[in-house]
Symmetry: D2
Amino acid sequence: MKPTEAEIACFEAGVKLGSLYHQFSGAPVSIDSIESLSSAIEKSIENQPYCTEVSVEIFKDKVQNSMNEKYRYTELKGDMMEVRVEIEYKDTEVVSKMKVDGGYPLMFVESIEKK
Amino acid sequence: MKPTEAEIACFEAGVKLGSLYHQFSGAPVSIDSIESLSSAIEKSIENQPYCTEVSVEIFKDKVQNSMNEKYRYTELKGDMMEVRVEIEYKDTEVVSKMKVDGGYPLMFVESIEKK
Amino acid sequence: MKPTEAEIACFEAGVKLGSLYHQFSGAPVSIDSIESLSSAIEKSIENQPYCTEVSVEIFKDKVQNSMNEKYRYTELKGDMMEVRVEIEYKDTEVVSKMKVDGGYPLMFVESIEKK
Amino acid sequence: MKPTEAEIACFEAGVKLGSLYHQFSGAPVSIDSIESLSSAIEKSIENQPYCTEVSVEIFKDKVQNSMNEKYRYTELKGDMMEVRVEIEYKDTEVVSKMKVDGGYPLMFVESIEKK
């Protein structure tokens, strides 16, 4: 069978989360560059088709705890951030998220609504 | 509303294609290393949850045409490859693909089947 | 033989350019997100050891020419940007650059100075 | 001052290690796909200019310890691997390495020889 509108919207949400994660994890980050990195990730992924809003929170305490003591920075990892992606495909809105669950960055569909 | 089984399966398919693309595009590749790179990408992404099969075809002629003449290699780009990803989530099978369409690497759900 | 101070400084410069290129190329970018992306790349790579300054210029016209017409964005590629990285290792300063030369993003050491 | 032959060779070594690290870390990996991934990384980076040999060892026990228990895979991180890169630039040979040192993946020039 061909996908429904809602199934396509969920597929698109998955593409955005997979892209975001594998494009930006590994980027050097320190306390002072959290803000510019999270904001650039949001604006970058929002460019992708059907993506109406991305919000990325990188947690200060996780960056702090993971920092190399000598060089005062670390690399962005999935377990340091929480991500919310909003998709609008035709008349369907999907909200999807990435959250850490038991140390593992879990990606999931939070809600699907017909407008 | 919460997602159905088929919607989750489509979401998972999207995650795999987005991950594959943004993890591996940019990798140096030449005619002689096409085979090892495409095979490693398949085995790497197949590790992800609910992913039963990945096939990656990197096109020789596109690598050839894009190669730096002096150094005889190029970097893997979306328009040099075709990808097929199979997802099995509970009783639902999804086939999704990435194909170049008008120069742009298009990702889409090909089919959804209840087992 | 073990490396001299200047040789180590050059090595460090190479690490930064290679990191920057392979971490960030592929990121979705549009005219409106050039500024936030280039600034985040600079701040991210400046975190790496011995790196005193990074400047990244992403060229508007190259982003424009490469944009998908329907979705109005493209992906960051080496030939859309120019990068300058300054390294300070002990008493040696190295300036290195990435510039497009014949379509190929060339990385090189521009100058080495003893302070 | 302009760089010497040995300084350029060290710069090139740095480019390869930075590229390798930021291109491939984050790739999904399991015990069964270590071999194909490490081999593909070697062949991919060997394509880069002046690079005569790359060897990548991904440690089984580190992959094992880092694996998600449910899904039986993890993502490649710097502290799971050791890398050796050989550069030949004109008459100079450089050997450089990446090794974990105090939890931090340290990159360095091991030796420089005139042929």
